[in-house]
Symmetry: C2
Amino acid sequence: MKKYNFFAGPAILPQSVIEQASKAALSFGDMGLSILEISHRSKEFVAVLEEARSLAKELLGFGDDYETLFLQGGASSQFFMTPMNLLDEGETACYVDTGNWSNKAIKEVKHFGNVEVLASSKDEGYTYIPKGFDIPSDAKYLHLTSNNTIFGTQYHSFPDTDIPIVCDMSSDIFSRPIPTEKFAMIYAGAQKNMGPAGTTLVIIRKDLLGKVKREIPTMLDYNTHIKKDSSFNTPPVFPIYVSLLTMKWVKEQGGVAAMELINEEKAAVLYDEIDSNPLFVGTSRKEDRSLMNVPFVMAKGYEALEAEFLDICANEGIMGLKGYRTVGGFRASIYNAMPIEGIEKLVGLMKSFAVRKA
Amino acid sequence: MKKYNFFAGPAILPQSVIEQASKAALSFGDMGLSILEISHRSKEFVAVLEEARSLAKELLGFGDDYETLFLQGGASSQFFMTPMNLLDEGETACYVDTGNWSNKAIKEVKHFGNVEVLASSKDEGYTYIPKGFDIPSDAKYLHLTSNNTIFGTQYHSFPDTDIPIVCDMSSDIFSRPIPTEKFAMIYAGAQKNMGPAGTTLVIIRKDLLGKVKREIPTMLDYNTHIKKDSSFNTPPVFPIYVSLLTMKWVKEQGGVAAMELINEEKAAVLYDEIDSNPLFVGTSRKEDRSLMNVPFVMAKGYEALEAEFLDICANEGIMGLKGYRTVGGFRASIYNAMPIEGIEKLVGLMKSFAVRKA
């Protein structure tokens, strides 16, 4: 039976990427060696890393004033590296709180400077994206989380401001075009739309760096990695290689503009079913719904059917549909690599469940 | 033609590990999914991580008072995380300088406290391991680098001291038994004897932690990762899985005691040839020679033949024999996974080169 991987992350990768990755793990290019055992200074891997750095910028449309890095430590490490590199003591960074990941980012700022939370959707269980907040003109930067994997909310437009925006795009990178001119820095853990766990993409405008007074340990200074083209120390060779394969796949699909059309169609099929099916209810505000993570619950009166529907899905090859542990219900993560057939399969199960139970 | 991978790192892995890794990249266990796209919270991966953490301690013989972590960021991140977690301002950490890696570790201490370099072999080009130095009784810890990949030196015994020893074992982990009682903490980047690049093993005695006054960013605090069993954030799933496969392979070979006998034999075959062949000379002091990295140069008068010998080796499938870029000559990295046949092939080429040229 065909399995459909709806896990929130690490998440589904394109089948062609998986096949190429498996092959390279056995024998890479003309070297006669596995990519797992080749030097990061070999010309073969240097070419991989250069292509990955350049293709990331090309797909998103960032110009020459930005640098691309492939680091380690996940978005969780960017939560503290951002203020460590960009914020001096006494200065203030502004954050918008749209759920768990924003919160974790906010928590790390205190080690380096002041933090001001401009807006939060906590009042309504993080089911919407705050809008219309004021941004202090002396803020060093504004930090946003473009998509929330747990509550299924996503910015569909970004604030207009002269303050440099830093954005955690871990869960929707390469899923749509972004207004690059608005962002001073973006970052993304690989394990949603980019590749396997183990590397983090950072794209940063060079003029932002070298301005804080503190001394930064060598490995935590973005400039260290910029100067050494992401090879100051041994980079995570295989996760970067698989990320390159995925980016090439995105390009073959027509780039991020084409991905957006596909993702809009996929999400519409699922949200339409949620909205019309009497058994299910969506949990996030319609205007802020995520195209990547679709949370929903049983409708009022049908709560007892949740476990049964999860069982049906699991038996039919729909994997990872259980909602986040603190939220419950269901969550369908439908990243770039999820084919429309997976969503149609899920929608079909929802429809027939309603025929029998509603 | 059979290729032999003498790269210093990322380095050779056992062929059976490569084959299993490639297979899991296509389909892992009974899940019907690639290991590259499964949740780190799936019971299948939780089992991998638990087995990896427990097997690392078992192979080396560390007891229950130690915790095992699989982190990201390489040994280069441990260079600053060690003093950040263990050294308060005003306190002194002692280091022994045996080359590049020690130097990089020493450089990061200044951000957190005082550093005292007790001994260095820089005076003779790092060709030996300093011995007989005094260790101040108030040192917070003593940091050693058990094996130097560039200069081919290795500690064959460790200092007797009551000061906690922290040791970077990146290039000889699992290659031999170690006196665990001497070490308060060891760490190792995976990409030599443990697995592909992308994860770092840290084994630390729990009573060492939680004693410094500084506030530590969440991701940089060892206790964060201990409390969450190395899954505070998404761990590098695939590099950890391949590390587990390699550790299981070490166990199948008979464990680290058996590996040591094999490694001693392999190194003896190569060093004996270097010592008896008129064309080549070893560069490190005999008593401190590394069993993992064997550097040698052309003997006096034969320097002009270096490029020719490298070409011969490359044509015969001996890969990665060129010495480190700042050192020159040759370096044969003969980690656990290098079969004796690879060394016999190299020795055969050295012998026939001597017949023609000496």
